[in-house]
Amino acid sequence: MSPHLPADHRQDRADALKTAAVASASLAAGGLLAAALPLALASSPSNARDRALDLLLLVELQQESFYAAAAEVAHEEGGELEEFVYTAHDHERTHLRLVRQLRGSRPEPRASFDFGDDVKSRESVLSAAQALEDLNVATYNGQLANLDRASRQLTGRIAATEARHATWAGRLSGDMSFTTTTDPAFGEAQTRAEIERLGYLQEG
């Protein structure tokens, strides 16, 4: 596999224009950017779109934090693990930026994460990565219907990349099979239960 990543400049530019338009609309409706608030204060928006985007932000924050924390062991291991972790981290930073643009100016949930031993070895990193990617796919699929059409199109494209990451992590773990006929769609309660089960979230 080539270590370099082909850039998709045309679609990046188009995405930027589209998300900028959506973000501008959100800014016009929502007012000025606010400082981060504790999760408990920021997690009860009144409409379905806002709740959905808050949940997507939370799972993206968790993933981005995970790959940042896994970078050290990935660098030590080198090779395929390093390529996977660095590539996924780069993608998650993009996803985080896009979800933030879609959310607009509303106060952002404040959250921190502790991944403990799950970022200490190749095996634990790949296992945790698969669990997190699967969670994000299910969360995106479950929230699509709560989003407006412009947000739905972009978040769907993010979800597909999360699915690619999940398969990639699985292959590096030695799982060569194709077994997923359809992906699940998690409601908010299911996603929050899975986040709790994983145990990484340390609320701010």
Partner: protein, 229 residues
């Protein structure tokens, strides 16, 4: 999806020319006949795609679901024929067998969503790509990329929440296939931070260019049968 410039062409989903090669390989390797066949296949498959995309003039979700059904039928049949060919190494045959079963389930799911509005299954000719290992895996990559890009392009178009949920569940499974076959082919499994998308008119054009869709077979009676009763 009309506000963004479509992002794919056949060369991008088929960088090594597997699909173009498949169009040309059926009759002759000579340049002249290859060009002639490509022209012939192009003309024939325009008709085939018109038959397969018959719901394009319909409105609502069936106008989206029917093209998706054609692509899923194509994939299911491609992998099934490859798995049954007996010409692939064990790892490719297993891959083909596993994905064939999943694609068949996707076909069933889309037909269920469409009900009586489902188009007939397309007629297909894979032009030797299901028997040759190298051409098989390259074509699998191209088809999975096309499928995933097509699904990415329609996610904001559904009127029914049920249809959206059904297709979303298929969409991310297709992205998993794409990553898996890309890895099997030695290609990058996640080449961009967000999935590329394609518009349905462009997909129709790309499908024409594969040459895999063939016109419905017809028979013409040259004369009336002799009465033997």
């Amino acid at each position: 999806m009309s506000d963004l410039t479509p992002g794919l062409n056949l060369a991008e989903i088929d960088p090594e020319g597997a699909l173009n090669e498949s169009i040309a390989s059926g009759v002759s390797r000579s340049g002249f006949l290859r060009g002639l066949l490509a022209l012939t296949a192009g003309a024939a498959t325009v008709v085939a795609a018109d038959q397969a995309f018959g719901a394009i003039s319909r409105t609502g979700d069936s106008a989206i679901l029917n093209p998706l059904l054609i692509i899923e039928c194509m994939q299911a049949e491609f992998y099934r024929r490859a798995a049954d060919s007996g010409q692939l190494p064990a790892n490719y045959a297993r891959l083909a067998n596993e994905i064939a079963a999943i694609e068949a389930a996707h076909v069933a799911g889309l037909k269920n969503a469409l009900g009586g509005a489902a188009n007939d299954d397309p007629y297909l000719n894979f032009r030797g790509t299901t028997e040759n290992p190298m051409r098989f895996i390259r074509t699998a990559v191209a088809l999975e990329d096309l499928s995933t890009s097509t699904l990415a392009g329609v996610m904001d178009d559904f009127e029914s929440e049920d249809n959206l949920t059904t297709v979303a569940a298929i969409y991310t499974a297709e992205a998993r296939h794409s990553a898996g076959v890309r890895l099997a082919a030695g290609e990058h499994p996640a080449p961009s931070p967000v999935q590329k998308w394609e518009s349905l008119p462009k997909v129709r054009k790309l499908l024409n260019e594969t040459g895999f869709l063939t016109p419905k077979p017809t028979t013409v009676a040259r004369q009336s049968p002799a009465f033997t009763g």
